[in-house]
Amino acid sequence: MSLDLSTRCLGLTLANPLVAGAGPLTANLDTIRALEDAGAGAIVLRSLFEEQITGRELGAAKHLYGHAPSAEAQSWFPDVDAFALGPDEYLEHVQRARAAVRVPVIGSLNGTTRGGWVHYARLIEEAGASALELNLYDVPTDPAADSIAVEDRLLGLVRDVRAAISIPLSVKLSPFFSSLPAFVRELEHAGANGIVLFNRFYQPDIDLEALELQRTLRLSDSSELPLRLRWLAVLSPITPLSLQASGGVHHGRDALKALMAGAHAVQLVSALLQRGPGHLAQVLTEMREWLLEHEYDSIETLRGSMNLKRCPDPAHYERSNYMALLGSWQ
């Protein structure tokens, strides 16, 4: 029996739904090639952060060229024509990655404010990216900025990026929105073509001795998948946008669940960091074997089969699920 693993996501046809997500592995051409060899359907390059653009530009301007000149020293650094500041290496990376692999290469921008840095979206497109992922990594701390203000700012950013590019645009979100379905609809109006659920926050820890915060990044495991499944299932029937799962996909079965909940593709980062780029081939094999065993002929048959509209007991995705779970402990 033939099995069609291809999927349509962000208007692109992927050979299979496994996407290597933005992370250290996609920062390096060798591992990017290894990911393609392992069967990745697409590759999301490591993120270029807003702070990298603004911080680096302003920081470089300040610390390399901002010091007070003196009679003896007009400057402290050489100022050669080739000395272009700014994250131009990222654009080169996009170009090289695009040349190195045949699968779609998706650029990634990470930021939360509107501003001059957005022009890098266009530069990433010009560098050859097949699509752009915009990671709205936002931690609201200002009590004066209510949810409307926060969402307006993020939507404004999406509109700015949309205006700057013509390639497909996906938006990577956190789960912390009052009404995710409503916000996703607004994103659609703002010009997004897809949603990635969800980004994972750096989790600061406290150093008890030094009374300082320590920045840590814990890799995900499969236990983080259910949160994604719920929201994929909720959004899948109500939005025309491409949906990708990100976080908690470590095995073939995880990927299958995400697809059943409505994902058009699933992203892998932690699993590949832990086990190497070759693990993607393993996940793909597990998927393929399960699908063959269960006589699915395509991903499309499977996709969304367990979303809120089609699953046999939707209450489990909704509030009643909570009551049932509590009851089970009694």
């Binding site: 653009i53 603004t54 680096r56 530009e57 302003l58 920081g59 470089a60 301007a61 610390h63 390399l64 060229y65 901002g66 010091h67 007070a68 000149p69 003196s70 009679a71 003896e72 020293a73 007009q74 400057s75 402290w76 650094f77 050489p78 100022d79 050669v80 024509d81 080739a82 000395f83 272009a84 500041l85 700014g86 994250p87 131009d88 290496e89 080169e92 990376h93 501003g115 001059g116 840095w117 022009h119 009374l211 300082e212």
Partner: protein
């Protein structure tokens, strides 16, 4: 093609395009010529023959001259750039190059030679020291000429085989930004004779046709052979003349060997060369227009001096001549040009009265009024000879008077003066303004920028001229039509109206509204504005800059106001051009920087307001420049210099031998900080690290008795001292509010956090304004508290900080990483230190007047400090040691001679004192005091002689201090010799890994991966292991230290080094602005340097061998951080990462490997199995 350049860029552009090999060494004000060449070569720019010139930085100017000499001998077209002491170091090679008739051209931004004092500014004392070498000397007077004659020099040298030294005035010409006509490659090709180039290359040494050069001759032949060059020198002037004619044909610009300008039938004539000639021409035009028969003869080809051409250029009507020299040769019958003119006239049998005078030493102003005063003098029946002009000489009464109010500049010349801080971008914005006006109009433009010599909070004064005619005013603006002040505080410190012409526009950046601003001004400023009828405008430029996201960068705002107010360009055109200029200037700095600057420009005009005349003037007077209790010398001399009136001081004000008093920075209250640390005694753990790291000794700790608190100001903070000692001992941390620069290092390093609010530490930065008066009273009270008795202090970080710093309030950069080491040394040994200080940052913040940070204690003792040169500092300090040793021997001999009449115990004590520690030193000082008391009653000659040298019986500590440019490069040979000498000297290398003072050129201490000037692609050679080289002698104490990362080890290393009775070397990691990061993070970054092994921390003490121990102790431990993590935090490394990530990755790997190998080597060295060798008595 019109270009906006300074002379250094213009000259470098010519030299780079007509050279194969460029060997250089940085020196102000010539450095930027070499920097331009390096940057162009890195960027792949080619010479006119299609080759990228090879640019190489050497270890000294002597090295650069040797390299150039070698390159010439091997057939290259070579050049170099230098000035002042650097030129002196090249002289031996200049004789050789000339003696060998080598086509060669070098370019000199002429600068003062260090005599009673160093000066970075311009005069001809350096080039005049070369007039005997056989080099041709060709002088340019302006930026345009400097470019043009640079080419003529190259062309004439190739044809004549005489090497050319082309020079122009340092700063006044080298740094004057001027709109000139550029030279395209075709002109360069048209000027250079291909046959002469081929001939030059054919003279190269080659084994195919071998010859030898550099032979040795004996009395039989040397003389005749030396005379064989004569025909070449005889032919040279005509060759130059032909080259000038060719140049005129190609460009339309005509120069002559001697250019006369002035009346058709002049009677009085000035002869001079350099930038002063431009002012002389301008003044002559003005005088001739008023009917005076005057003229000026400008000398261009000074050597070979063509006496016949000179005589021919002299108008027949001349009756009297004044020859002006911009140099001083004490003891000579006349200055050099004067002498040459006299000789030429005698040989030409022309009977004309000739007098000579000096002007313009060290860039002293030379104005039309001074030119006129010389002409006036020539008109007298008996004009004075050997006069000076530009100063008031009330000692030998040689100076001419001049009319300081004379203003000959035409009304249609726009003259604008901008007062700013170095850090606020004023100079850069003004350069942009000149460019904009130059590009948008046919106006001639000129910019000249004056900096003070402080490295933190330095002020700049920009002088801008825009004229419909060529600008020849090579002097500062005296009557400005537009005066802008970019920092509100400057009105309190500087006479900002000094240069404002009546009716001028006066623009002030101030937070005050138009209605309130007058009340905020000092009385004299407010009155000046009203009385001179100034058109007063205000703008809150800091607010605008903050609003657009460029806090502190007020320059673009001020530029916007200038365009709106000055009318030099139509408003719309000006703003459109300014926007384009910002895009161009900041494009490579990123879109954010561009956008924010454009926002600042556009908001400026809208936020600016005209200020109506006030109904009443304020009464507040400016604070005195120095406090009333300052010593007489400071009141009379230093105060005038601080106030910017140093030009008015007469000769008699100055010590004739360059000897200046110590401890004077305490009277120069600069008030730079907006925020200063605030101490919370409840949170404080009394570690004193804040005081330890303060670069300016502006936060201090004291322990004192409770009784001492009597009369303390209400806000003075004090708490119980927790570390033992006397019962009821009290403790205070106090900040000097007017001396703190607000760098925040102390707060960053403070380890004591409030447990319920860890963001709050024992010291936090807080706005100063409202606390200033209280803190001043607190500081004054704190100073009066008793100092700790240094003989009782433990030698650890905490207690050493209770010793009085004898290095304080220097002008070093905010956050400087060098000065904390100097301060620490001064606390540990300051009352017995002699310091030999190499030229560099430390000699500038340590010795640049008006004030001196090296200080004295209550007994009047403190470090005695001197700077000789850059290259000889180790030897200079060695000389100190020899002299001291001789004095000690003399004192001991005299003591022996007097011993019979003195108590035996005292004499024995004096002879045998253990002075290895503070207690022993204090005891010996007491013995010497007793000795002096007893000697007073003795009548013998020996007793009188012993009184003169008895102080030498107290051990003195010789410190040889300098930066890595000195220790690793130019002074290394001497340093190496000092190591070999076994003399008891202490060498402290303040290692910033780059030439900091001259603007970030690489040294051999620059690490792999760092971008520096002359290493624009990132240095790929490992940092020289200076410590290892010193260790290889076996008898040298060596320590590598890092104050923020391992403070206890530094204190230990300093104490060990000082007590070691032979040469000691301490290499100190010194964070610097040239590393390209926020220096408040330098504590963390230095820890990373140590933890990653990038900066090893160790002590090598040969004394340990005697105890059967291994001499090397590696104190830094095994690496626990990654080299890459260290490198990612500094701009000097990240500059490569941003430009070329792959190369960066390679350099990181290279540095990791280098560090690992060095680490392994040090570990092996530390663990060497020396025991058997030691047991057998073998020395290392």
């Amino acid at each position: 093609m019109s270009i906006l350049v300074d002379a250094n860029e213009a000259v470098a552009s010519v030299a780079h395009r007509v050279s194969d090999v460029i060997a250089i060494y940085p020196i102000t004000p010539a450095s930027s010529m070499a920097e331009w060449c390096d940057e162009w070569s890195v960027a792949g720019r080619k010479n006119i023959w299609g080759q990228i010139p090879r640019v190489e930085q050497l270890q000294s100017e002597a090295g650069a001259a040797g390299t150039v000499h070698g390159a010439l001998q091997a057939g290259a077209l070579a050049t170099t750039f230098t000035a002042s002491q650097g030129l002196l170091l090249m002289i031996p090679n200049l004789y050789k190059i000339a003696g060998e008739l080598t086509a060669f051209t070098m370019h000199v931004a002429a600068r003062t030679i260090a005599t009673h004092a160093l000066s970075i500014f311009g005069d001809h004392s350096d080039v005049m020291a070369c007039r005997q070498t056989g080099m041709a000397l060709l002088c340019s007077s302006s930026v345009q000429e400097a470019q043009d004659l640079a080419l003529v020099a190259h062309a004439a040298s190739l044809e004549s085989r005489i090497p050319f030294l082309h020079f122009f005035d340092g700063f006044r010409t080298s740094h004057e930004v001027h709109r000139i006509e550029g030279l395209d490659d075709e002109v360069l090709r048209g000027m250079l004779d291909e046959e002469a180039i081929t001939a030059h290359r054919a003279r190269a040494l080659t084994p195919e046709k071998p010859v030898i050069r550099g032979t040795a001759h004996n009395p039989d032949t040397y003389f005749q052979a030396r005379e064989a060059v004569n025909p070449f020198y005889d032919a040279c002037p005509a060759i130059v003349e032909r080259a000038l004619e060719r140049f005129a044909k190609l460009t339309g610009r005509r120069y002559r060997l001697f250019d006369y300008h002035g009346a058709a039938d002049p009677e009085r004539l000035l002869v001079l060369m350099g930038s002063g000639a431009e002012t002389a021409r301008e003044t002559v035009d003005w005088l001739v227009a008023r009917g005076e028969k005057v003229g000026v003869l400008v000398v261009r080809l000074y050597r070979p001096f063509d006496a016949r051409a000179f005589a021919a250029a002299l108008p027949r009507s001349i009756r009297s001549i004044a020859v002006l020299d911009r140099t001083k040769e004490p003891g000579a019958p006349c200055e050099p040009l004067h002498l040459d003119v006299l000789a030429a006239l005698v040989e030409a049998e022309r009977a004309v009265r000739v007098v000579g005078g000096r002007y313009g030493l060290s860039s002293k102003e030379f104005t039309p009024a001074m030119v006129k005063s010389v002409f006036d003098e020539l008109a007298r029946p008996q004009p004075r000879n050997h006069f000076t002009v530009g100063i008031v000489d009330d000692v030998t009464h040689l100076s001419l008077e001049w009319d300081a109010e004379l203003d000959i500049e035409a009304e249609d010349v726009t003259r604008a003066v901008f007062y700013g801080l170095g850090s606020d971008g004023t100079v850069g914005a003004n350069k942009n303004t000149i460019k904009i006006v130059g590009e948008e109009t046919d106006l001639c433009t000129q910019g000249y920028f004056v900096y003070d010599s402080k490295k933190s909070g330095s002020t700049t004064v920009s002088h801008l001229r825009f004229s419909p005619r060529p600008i020849r005013s090579t002097y500062l603006i005296g009557k400005a039509r537009f005066v802008a002040v970019s920092q509100p505080g400057l009105v309190e410190r500087i006479d900002v109206l000094e240069l404002a012409a009546p009716g001028a526009v006066f623009l002030l950046n101030t937070p005050h509204s138009p209605e309130e601003v007058f009340a905020s001004l000092p009385e004299d400023v407010a009155r000046g504005i009203v009385e001179r009828g100034l058109r007063f405008h205000v703008i809150d430029a800091h607010k605008v800059a903050s609003d657009v996201g460029l806090p502190g960068r007020v320059s673009t705002v001020m530029q916007g106001c200038f365009f709106a107010l000055s009318g030099v360009l139509p408003r719309e055109q000006a703003f459109a051009a300014a926007r384009r200029a910002i895009e161009k200037t900041f494009k490579r700095r990123g879109a954010q920087v561009v956008k924010r600057n454009i926002d600042a420009l556009e908001l400026a005009e809208a936020r600016m307001s005209a200020v109506p005349a006030p109904s009443v003037l304020p009464e507040r007077r400016r604070a005195a420049v120095v406090p009333a209790q300052a010593p007489e010398f400071v009141q009379r001399v230093s105060a005038a210099m601080i106030a910017g009136h140093g030009n008015l001081l007469p000769v008699s004000a100055f010590p004739p031998d360059g000897t200046w008093p110590s401890a004077t920075t305490r009277y120069e209250k600069r008030g730079l900080a907006r925020e200063t640390p605030v101490w919370d005694s409840k949170v404080c753990i009394q570690c004193n690290k804040c005081a330890l790291v303060c670069p300016h000794a502006a936060i201090r700790a004291k322990v004192y008795g409770a009784d001492d608190l009597a009369g303390s100001p209400a806000g003075f903070l004090s708490t119980t001292w927790k570390s033992g000692g006397e019962a009821n001992a009290r403790y205070s941390i106090q900040v000097a509010p007017d001396d703190c620069t607000g760098c925040g290092l102390c707060v960053a390093i403070c380890p004591a956090k409030d447990k319920s609010n860890p963001r709050h530490k024992a010291i936090d930065m807080a706005p100063l304004d409202e606390r200033r008066d209280g803190e001043r009273a607190n500081w004054d009270f704190f100073l009066e508290l008793p100092e700790s008795d240094r003989s009782e202090l433990k030698l650890d970080v905490k207690h050493v900080q209770l010793a009085q710093p004898l290095f304080e309030f220097s002008g070093a950069c905010s956050g400087c990483g060098e000065t904390p080491y100097l301060k620490l040394a001064s606390q540990m040994f300051g009352d017995r230190m002699l310091i030999a200080n190499a030229t560099g940052c430390s000699s500038i913040y340590g010795g640049n007047q008006p004030t001196t940070p090296w200080s004295v204690n209550k007994q009047g003792r403190g470090p005695a400090w001197a700077n000789s040169l850059f290259e000889d500092n180790a030897e200079f300090g060695l000389g100190f040691r020899f002299a001291l040793d001789q004095s000690v021997d003399r004192a001991r001999a005299l003591l022996g001679a007097c011993a019979g009449a003195l108590p035996e115990e005292l004499v024995r004590g004096l002879f045998e004192a253990d002075q290895s520690g503070e207690l022993g030193i204090a005891a010996q000082r007491a013995r010497v005091a007793e000795l002096r008391r007893l000697l007073a009653a003795h009548k013998t000659r020996e007793a009188r002689a012993l009184e003169t040298c008895a102080d030498h019986l107290v051990r003195r500590s010789v410190w040889i201090i300098g930066g890595d440019g000195w220790a690793y490069d130019i002074g290394f040979g001497g340093l190496d010799h000092v190591f070999s000498s076994r003399a008891d000297v202490n060498v402290l290398v303040l290692d910033t890994e780059v030439y900091s003072n001259t603007g970030g050129q690489q040294s051999k201490a620059t690490p792999i991966g760092a971008v520096a000037k002359f290493a624009a692609g990132g240095r790929s050679t490992g940092k020289k292991d200076l410590g290892l080289i010193a260790m290889s002698y076996g008898h040298v104490y060596v320590a590598s230290v890092a104050l923020y990362a391992r403070d206890a080890q530094v204190v230990k290393a300093f104490a060990e080094a000082e007590s070691y009775p032979g040469p000691s070397l301490v290499i100190a990691h010194s964070p610097c602005i040239a590393h390209g990061y926020d220096l408040t993070k330098s504590g963390e970054q230095q820890k990373l340097a140590v933890d990653s092994g990038v900066w090893p921390v160790y002590r090598f003490d040969p004394r340990r061998l005697d105890a059967g121990e291994l001499p090397l102790a590696v104190d830094s431990g095994p690496p626990k951080a990654r080299v890459a993590d260290y490198m990612k935090n500094e701009g000097r490394f990240q500059a490569i990462a941003m430009r070329d990530p792959e190369r960066y990755a390679e350099l990181v790997a290279l540095e990791e490997r280098y560090i690992a190998e060095r680490q392994a080597f040090h570990e092996q060295l530390a663990g060497l199995k020396l025991k058997s060798a030691i047991a057998q008595g073998a020395a290392l």
